[in-house]
Amino acid sequence: MIDDLSLRSRSRWAARICLLVAILLPPSIVGAWIFLGPEALIANVVDPAQPLPQGMQLFAIVAVSLVAPVLVSFALLSARRCFQSFAAGNWFDEDGARALRRFGALYLAASIFGLLLPAFLSVLVTLHYPEGQRVLAWGISTGRVLSALAGFMFWLIGDVLVRAAELAEDNRQII
């Protein structure tokens, strides 16, 4: 038998961690761009003989690289809501279940975008190159595919929990 108090306490901690990571993730990406500089972050993509992207092009690269972290941040805020619901002892709360479902959907979206990110970045980074030297590169990694699968599974589990919450509500109305 799982101890309720322990589960609620762990959920409370999970909610705090989700909030912390959700807040820190996008600024840390921007910080990396500012402090390390574009040359360090896109060194493996650029041709050393070509000038680095500047102005709007650089802004677009940073913006595109922020999409997945921002989606993950929103996903974590949804996860936080779900854990807050568990921390309050609401195991079959419909809001909490919907939050878990939203977490899964956003995490899946972030993972799919992450799969496409190398292609977007390679085009953006080499946009100012002379014709014939621009690059469209795409790669697939096991980590990204497994993340997408995990997002899909959380989405599905969220759907099942929503159904369970509806059934629990029905049962509450049977006396």
Binding site: Q173, I174, I175
Partner: protein, 69 residues
Amino acid sequence: MAITVTLDIVLTDRGVTSKELAAQIGITEANLSLLKQGKVKGVRFATLEKICSYLDCQPGDILTFEPED
């Protein structure tokens, strides 16, 4: 709803209060009130049995079916 709860009529006939019935059958007065108003999705056989046993009536005395137009 097509099923109407007529428990309040039986309670009046028997001279039994809601508080007394709730205490006897082991449910809260709030739930008994919801049942009397028909604001529940169902009644367990066990609850129905206790009500009928205490009020000495049949399920049909407290639940009636009225076809909807």
